[in-house]
Amino acid sequence: MGERIMNNEKRVSNIIEALAKHEDNTAVEVLEELGTNSSIDEVRRLTAKALIKRNTPDSLAVVISRAGKGINDLSTNVAMSTINELLALKDKSQAMEVLDRVDEADWDENVKETARSVKALMAFS
């Protein structure tokens, strides 16, 4: 039973990864709808990681500019994990652009504040 659960979690992880790699951009919508809205912390963490690995403006916008998702997740573990994934990106240019846009535009003040903090960290990483 334990093994089955582990396999199912692994399967979900693989599906999320397959969506993140898919050339069809509607995959981002699926990940946002099912992954980032999940009540399971680990699912949200895996989804945020996958969206960052995809590294497109759309996928990064989900984890950077949405209240309660990605770097703004209500779970500190998920938020910190997302920030770490962003800092680990080899090509940070897209992420920096999205962070700049959040800073300039009329977003929720908490979202802007978190984006500024992450932007500062990325500048030093």
């Binding site: 979690e9 979900v12 397959a18 800092l87 500062a120 960290l121």
Partner: protein
């Protein structure tokens, strides 16, 4: 015209004006260049006339003076302290993460785990997981969506 009235006009006495205009609208008895300043001058700034975003803040500050100004400065200080605290906690967490990663990499237990993983890869279960990945990579998004829904349901019920 009487001389008296002319002299009164020429030599305006502030005191005389003050006596004449003594009223409740000038409680502080303030005068400017001999003219009594009415209470209208002490009226607070009309917020609607101020067009920039900080209008309310400015109106409140000018209205209530130093006490409010110091409160505003204090709260700005709180905001910057809150940001610094968050940055510090983020930095601390990242530092802890980095330290943990470094310790894990340099410890011998990591190599044992890696060796164990290779053993796992040779088992039937591991093969099933990897072949599933290849199938998944060949699927279209709508199909993957269905698979994800099923997987999440099983995870949630597990």
């Amino acid at each position: 015209m009487e001389v008296k009235s002319i002299s009164q006009k020429i030599f305006k006495s502030p005191l005389k004006n003050q006596e004449d205009s003594c009223n409740h609208t000038n409680p502080f008895g303030v005068n400017f260049k001999g003219n009594i300043i009415s209470a209208d001058v002490f009226e607070t700034a009309n917020e609607s006339k101020l067009s920039f975003k900080g209008a309310k803040l400015v109106a409140k500050a000018t209205e209530k003076g130093r006490l409010v100004k110091s409160t505003i400065v204090g709260s700005l200080g709180d905001v910057s302290a809150a940001i610094s605290k968050r940055l510090d906690s983020v930095g601390k967490t990242i530092n802890e993460f980095g330290t943990r990663m470094r310790d894990q990499i340099t410890s011998s237990t990591v190599y044992r785990k890696v060796a164990g993983a290779w053993d796992y890869l040779n088992t039937t279960n591991a093969k099933a997981v990897f072949s599933l990945s290849k199938k998944l990579e060949a699927m279209e998004v709508p199909q993957l969506r269905i698979e994800l829904e099923r997987g999440l349901e099983a995870w949630g019920n597990g």
